[in-house]
Symmetry: C2
Subunit: 507 residues, 2 copies
């Protein structure tokens, strides 16, 4: 298959080829895709740097038009895209790919179009008295590396990072996730057509399928880049971070999150069954492969807690797990579960591959006394990416609080409590701890399901991300990641961008 | 001298001691200061982490009161502070330390107080329909390492980073610059008194004088920190960046800047003398030790250009250079000048130590054909921190543009041009290049003198700083560096901070 470089589909300079497979059957799909040599990366970087200069001259309307044309084209191809993504991910066409994820994706593109048109992301400040003016401008070419788990909504050429980078007028080099190259190709084809139709520089959107680890790191550290957006594993994220940091390239990472959920005791007495159902739903959606899926829950030991855990066990055991995205992903999940058990967690249910076609893993519930967690937190702060959850059972409130203090940064932190007010005192101890550890604090709600709203934060303290000040979801705030601050000091009026002219309002 | 740790002045756990000296005479001053062992750092980090938790409960008014009390105390001690700083830096009491830098410093503290009171830095977003709300909150304990060149305005316990970190409710651990420890002690004494008087946690402001390089790096990488603010050399900044990056600690660096100034040819015909005077003024202020001092100027060869260079030479030769801040700084300046000459720059004047007491260096003008610059830009992109400037003379417009394309990121970029409009075509080529390379673009104005206004950007692309999206000067924007994004998703009304309650305006 051809790569999209410098405004044209062309044969890759390939060092090897790879195939996607159907996770539903484990069989190799029949299209071969290239692993690009550095030559392809280099050509894309040069073309992107040139496109960045040209894009500075584009009107905001052109960028908005592109985003809207692209969104409309994706909506029009929904059936074909959903089928392709289903084939490569085994995620359901409905409800999910066609009627949930694709609409979310095109909604993001349209919100980005609106932000591009309104220019609200510019954050204009005018000090007319001193004739000093500032705004945000594009940061430069953005390399986007999408994850395996959202073939549309986080795809390198259609997802949140893509939309945010484009809204600020940055060209994007998308690196496909190798688990869904064909889906990415179909998306890139539509993006490319929309680029040409809207009159943007042809190299505004480029796409390569795969590169070696070495070339991936070389890409991240290339001075022609303005920034990098990465969603994926902590291991890969930290390697890319080292390469980008060494070159002074800002990198936005969404890496790893345990998403602790704390169930307070009085509420547990009232809602054990209902809470178990909500947790099971959240843990198993998408075969547990959501970055906001709860991996760690905390509760106080009690009869109700036992009922809750029994209920959860029953739900896990009564359900047929969906296939995971890849065999390698299942292996990693199993390795994590084994490591947690070896460290001392008891396996209440699951902990093994599940029967049926494709890469299925049994819904897994681990259990650990808070005392053990406290004694060896480091071993237990390990993400298990899949349908697994570990319940940490505290003997008393002090133990619960002590355990929570040992958490690292997460995308989310949730508190479930009684409506009666009887959990309030403990909540007042728990909430400030989770607040410091999580980008999004929730009440009475599971963290999966990230609303695309300006008030969202899909981010959080390290190691959930690389910087706690930025969100990957929610427009216009997510755009800020792909902007540089620009000040104009005493610049002559006619040389200023139009939106910076005049008297404005002082700072 | 005692260090300020955990709310009290106490004897340092010192591994050695050091002395400041008078740069005006080169003589050692008589007060000994401790180089703290890790024990002191560790105690300060723990106290700061605890103070951060307590500070979350402080009212915005308390933080504002602290900043205002502190500013008033500094104003009241202006004479004493200016004398102390003069003794340690040889900078003039007037005009400078007492009547320029200290008022700027207390103005920054008062602007920070205003921002703390108004809470504008919170950036509240409310999506009432979905009950999702977000704001910025404190990032956690901030380690501030101040530079040698502004003993008040960038001091670790009174400068811009300090004010911004405090405004967002973060405790600060200040590491004094070892060239002015006594000044820093006097400031910290006033800060500590103001902390106690305003009822903030006693460990809100802590100060140590000096640590080994090893312990400095260990500090930057400590997980108890929320962020680091550093102003200083590129070498030290990059070492700290590596340590902070590896730990996932956000670090804001202001490291190195050549601050290119481009003089366009028609304007040069009209203003050679005036421009030479402005440049000389900007290059020699503070003995050239400003981070925005122009180090590289670009011009087209012509009779007027020769007149300009002759004029500049004459001014440099006619002036007695002020003492630099340290002997080591003069050595580094001299090493840079030697390296630039060795690489091919011609020394028009200066290039040697100047006579007189203290560490004086002759005003130095180097000259280089643009062709040479283009052939070996890497060797010439070398900061000379002091009263040195290198003129790059282009044979034609194409050469000028090619040379500018080779620049790295800078804090500033300036364009001087004719008022007649005759330089406009060339300006249109030059301006977009400088725009991409500099955080602040100036017209007809030297970059030294950084106005404290919300529209300022004292920042820029790497390696001027570590991230082009942030400014170190200008409130409230500079505060954003020391904040984390916090989302509240479905959090019960009474548990929300007061400013997030109610319906607000969606998105």
């Amino acid at each position: 298959m051809d790569v999209l470089i410098d405004g044209a589909w062309r044969a890759a300079d390939a060092e090897s080829e790879f195939y996607a497979e159907s996770p539903a059957t484990g069989e190799r799909l029949d299209r071969a895709f290239p692993v690009s040599r550095w030559n392809d990366c280099d050509a894309a970087l040069t073309a992107a740097a040139d496109a960045a200069v040209e894009l500075e001259k584009a009107a905001p309307e052109q960028i908005a038009d592109f985003l809207e044309l692209y969104a409309a084209a994706l909506d029009a191809s929904a059936e074909k895209l959903a089928q392709a993504a289903h084939e490569e991910t085994a995620l359901a066409v409905s409800p999910r790919l066609k009627d949930v994820e694709l609409p979310r994706t095109t909604d993001q593109l349209r919100q980005a179009a609106r932000a591009a048109r309104e220019q609200s992301w510019r954050q204009v400040r005018i000090d007319a008295q001193r004739n000093i003016r500032s705004c945000r401008g594009p940061i430069g070419p953005v390399l986007v590396m999408g994850p395996n788990n959202f073939p549309f909504a986080y795809n390198a050429v259609s997802g949140g990072d893509f939309a945010a980078a484009m809204a600020a007028g940055n060209p994007v080099i998308g690196k496909a996730h190798p688990l869904h190259p064909y889906t990415t190709m179909l998306l890139a084809q539509e993006a490319h057509k929309a680029v040409l139709a809207s009159g943007l520089p042809p190299a505004t959107v480029q796409m390569i399928y795969h590169v070696s680890v070495e070339n991936g790191l070389k890409l991240a550290g290339d001075p022609r880049l303005g920034a990098i957006g990465f969603t994926g594993s902590k291991g890969a994220g930290l390697e890319l971070k080292r390469a980008a940091d060494a070159a002074g390239n800002p990198i936005y990472l969404e890496m790893s999150s345990l998403n602790p959920v704390v169930f307070l005791p009085h509420g547990m007495e009232e809602h054990a069954g209902q809470w178990a159902n909500q947790l099971a739903e959240s843990c198993t959606a998408g075969a547990g492969q959501f970055c906001t899926r709860p991996n760690l829950v905390f509760l106080l030991g009690s009869g109700a807690a036992e009922k809750f855990l029994q209920e959860l066990k029953g739900i896990f055991e009564g359900r047929t797990p969906a296939p995971m995205l890849s065999g390698a992903g299942r292996e990693r999940l199993h390795a994590s579960v084994r490591a947690l058990r070896k460290a001392g967690a008891e396996c209440v249910t699951g902990g093994e591959f599940a029967p049926g076609s494709g890469y299925r893993y049994a819904g897994t519930l681990l259990r650990l006394p808070a005392e053990r967690f406290i004694a060896g937190a480091r071993e237990f702060l390990r993400e298990a990416f899949g349908n697994e959850v570990m319940a940490v059972v505290a003997a008393n409130e002090a133990e619960l609080v002590e355990a929570l203090e040992l958490l690292e940064g997460s995308l989310t932190g949730s508190i479930y409590s009684s409506e009666s007010g009887s959990d309030e005192a403990l909540c007042e101890q728990v909430a400030p701890i989770l607040r410091r550890k999580a980008g999004r604090l929730l009440n009475d709600k599971m963290p999966t399901g990230v609303a695309v709203t300006a008030a969202m934060n899909h981010g959080g303290p390290y190691p959930a991300t690389g910087h706690p000040g930025f969100t990957a979801v929610g427009l216009p705030p997510a755009i800020e990641r792909f902007t540089a601050l620009r000040c104009y000091d005493n610049v002559r009026e006619h040389r200023l961008p139009a939106f910076l002219r005049g008297s404005g309002t002082a700072g």
